[in-house]
Symmetry: C2
Subunit: 138 residues, 2 copies
């Protein structure tokens, strides 16, 4: 059994975040000492690691909730879990696509001005003001 600080150190999840996850129902309510402090065991550590890993991969709290629900019912079909992962993957791909367009546009803008002139002639500012200067949608 270890304290919330110890759990925090081991999982690299900040203490207030752990409490927040408990409040959101991702973590079961922890056991308490006589002085009302939380105490965790291996199961708690594993669950928090799971949550942290999923968050790192960009899953929402809601999605993680569903994943945990599935984890707690090992006999149920895991279709929902793969669905969530696949949809998360689609999401990530969409974001990458969008960011690549931004990258192109920002690169073009930055190259257009060396920063040594005055605002009036700045290509960065001109590009922002006039969308026509952009090469493509973004």
């Amino acid at each position: 059994m270890f304290s919330i600080g110890e759990l925090s150190k081991r999982t690299k999840v900040k203490v207030p975040t752990i409490r927040y996850y408990e409040e959101m129902g991702l973590l079961a309510e922890a056991e308490r000492t006589s002085g009302n402090q939380r105490r965790y065991d291996k199961a708690g550590l594993e669950r928090l690691s799971f949550i942290r890993h999923a968050r790192d991969l960009g899953f929402s709290i809601e999605a993680i909730s569903s994943l945990i629900e599935l984890q707690d019912h090992p006999d149920q079909s895991c279709e929902a879990a793969t669905d969530i992962a696949v949809s998360q993957l689609a999401d990530v791909r969409e974001k990458i696509k969008r960011l690549k367009l931004l990258e192109k546009e920002l690169t073009r803008m930055s190259k257009g001005c060396d920063g040594h002139g005055v605002s009036e002639d700045c290509y960065v500012l001109a590009s922002l003001a006039d969308h026509e200067l952009c090469e493509r949608d973004h």
Copy 2:
């Protein structure tokens, strides 16, 4: 002179968002009719287009504030503007890098399970529970 609804239509920025930008100081306080409704002119339209374009490119409200400040002083050096653009570009590149790692990991996970088994054997859930199963950092 046109109404906030008209401005919204022309810029594709929602009405409450326009009011929000005004509150945040991005847009100057609009003139009002005798009945207290906002009225905009070409300058207002252009400024909002600028803001919208910058937001589309992922600039923060704070960054846009600085850019507008520079725009309002055409005689000043535009170094700060290019700095902002370059840092935004670095930010976007960083995000792309990170998302690509996630994409790889999520692809691997999704491929590992067809969704037809039970949760207990689900590779998606197993991967989330055990970081060791991942190929690389993310």
